[in-house]
Amino acid sequence: MMVRAGARRAWPSGVFQALLWLASGLLIAFIVLPLVRLAATSSPSSLISAAREAEVRDAVLLSLQDAAITAAIATVLGVPLAYLLAQRRIPAPGLVQAIVDLPLAVPHTVAGIALLFLLGRTGWVGAPAGHLGVSFYGSQWGIVAAMLFVSAPFAVNSARVAFEAIDPNLERAARSLGATRAHAFRRVTLPLGARGVLTGAVLVYARSIAEFGAVVIIAYYPVTAPVEIYNLFLRSGLAAASAASVLLLIVALATFLVLRTLASGSWLWIADRDPR
């Protein structure tokens, strides 16, 4: 009997398509349904009363503020590293990239403890910083440090991917036209990679708002929104926590969507389109 090597029975037409849609639909439903169920628990009046509670309001505002600061720091520090990695001008780029990705693999409570050892009152950085009057433990700086640790990979990787996609001859062309390395970066590479840089900043922002594990260890106070919701849940139960949760969800999603739209828009190049 002849056996055709590698012969496979073909799937009936449409089965593959159906499986694609089924798997995709299940995952989307798994993400959306808990949020819809959460939103359904609260009424507009309960949201307004939650927003009127000073503790909840302050916690949400603190989260937004610290996430914005973190996004700015991660971008300022992450873009140069992303550029060096994209250009392979850094020694052992594979090792450096692995270090950048490390926070993605470290459990966030572990990250919090590690940061506490470094930035706490007796830590390598915390002790000298304390002499200068800067305290990380139980302060806004501690919250930003925790947020930065867990979200920095998003800023670096997003910018790196954007820089890698730029034709290296563009920067060479700029140099041959008399632009210094810095001028070529500012006028060519950065504008072309701006979308990736901004997307990274938005991801850092979103990830930072959501951060709980590392923040709760290094800076339980001042209370960020996720910590406040956890406190409400422990103190008063599921129902009490839900209104604050929905409030945080709405604020976080709204800012995320606005920023993401800005980051992906074509308005980025408009500044350079003026005729002269």
């Binding site: 062309a173 632009a179 350079d272 389109r273």
Partner: protein, 354 residues
């Protein structure tokens, strides 16, 4: 040419990329002259341009431009213009801003200079367009205007026409030729296209496997390639392996005297001929010399601009001639014709490695 005439003088330049080594390369180009570098893909042509432009560091040698040593200078201080194969226009800037980039980098704001260049390359109507919306030919015109805006002292062109379709290429080749003639600066033009090299370059250097195999004027290099690789790149066809006995070349049924004595080399040789120089039919009847023989026409292909006629026999060869000559000479498959190989259309080389 004296050293003082050499606007660009490249001496012993060596560059490495992984296991590939380019050089040592010696070149000189005078002001107002164009050197075409011809070579196959992977020969190191682009690498040489990148080294001269400063995108790549040379491990040895010197590059002097009008007496200035360029070796240690960053690309922006070399005054070397570079036109890339794919134009490398800045996609986020308009055509006008691309052309004005060099002026802006220096803090100049000369709209007149940009307007003059846009006019010179007939791209004024494209000034506010995005490079993404341009055709290949338009992109290269913008790239040329952009490179010249920086007032370079040397222009490097890396296969600027190879990505274009034929009519655009022919059109731009003329633009390029006229431009380079009038610039008064040295230029190096890299290509793998023989016709382009011969048409644009005053001198042609053949680069193969990181080495300059031969450098000569366009006329001389076509007439007298120095080895089989140069011959192939310059349009010579291989006739086969013959043997050289003193000054007599024996190949199949042919035994012809040759001036290519190869320093008294006696033994097997690679024989090359110019396919367009072979005479057929009535054109070949006049001669009855040793390079005259009769052969059967195997195939006639009416290709343009030159038709191809393949002949059977020993040696078998392909002849290129004007399509109108097919009718005039009554050439068709199956007939036997007179064939004449003019002596200067034959070259013999020692086999590679001998």
């Amino acid at each position: 040419m004296t050293l003082a005439d050499d606007a660009l003088l490249v001496q012993g330049v060596t560059t490495r990329a992984g296991s590939f080594e380019l050089g040592p390369i010696d070149l000189d180009v005078a002001s107002g002259r164009v050197l075409s570098i011809l070579g196959p893909s992977g020969a190191g042509k682009t690498m040489l341009l990148e080294t001269i432009a400063g995108f790549r560091a040379a491990v040895a040698g010197s590059i002097r431009l009008f007496g200035r040593e360029l070796g240690q200078l960053p690309p922006e201080s070399r005054a070397v213009g570079f036109v890339f194969q794919d134009a490398a226009l800045f996609p986020h800037l308009s055509v006008r801003k691309n052309v004005g980039f060099a002026l802006r980098a220096r803090g100049e704001r000369s709209h007149e200079r940009v307007d003059e260049l846009l006019g010179r390359f007939a791209i004024t109507h494209l000034a506010e367009r995005s490079p993404r919306s341009l055709s290949g030919g338009e992109r290269q015109r913008v790239a040329l205007a952009r490179a010249l805006a920086a007032r370079p002292e040397l222009l490097l062109l890396d296969e600027p026409l190879s990505a274009l379709d034929r009519p655009t290429r022919d059109d731009l080749r003329t633009v390029l030729q006229e431009l380079l003639c009038g610039l008064g600066i040295p230029a190096i033009h890299v290509t793998h296209d023989r016709d382009e090299a011969l048409e644009i370059g005053d001198q042609v250097a053949v680069v193969v496997a990181g080495q300059v195999r031969q450098m000569a004027s366009s006329d001389e290099i076509v007439a007298k390639p120095e080895d089989d690789t140069c011959a192939r790149l310059l349009g010579w066809s291989e006739l086969g392996v013959g043997s050289l006995d003193r000054d007599i070349l024996v190949l199949g049924d042919l035994a012809v005297p040759t001036s290519d004595s190869l320093d008294r080399w006696n033994g097997p040789v690679s024989v090359f001929y110019r396919p367009e120089a072979v005479l057929l039919g009535a054109d070949a009847v006049g001669s009855r010399g040793p390079t005259h023989f009769r052969a059967t026409v195997d195939r006639v292909l009416p290709t343009t601009p030159l038709a191809r006629v393949t002949l059977g026999g020993r040696p078998a060869l392909t002849v290129l001639l004007l399509p109108r000559d097919l009718g005039r000479l009554g050439l068709r498959a199956g007939i036997t014709v007179d064939v004449e190989l003019p002596p200067d259309s034959l070259r013999v080389f020692r086999p590679t490695g001998a």
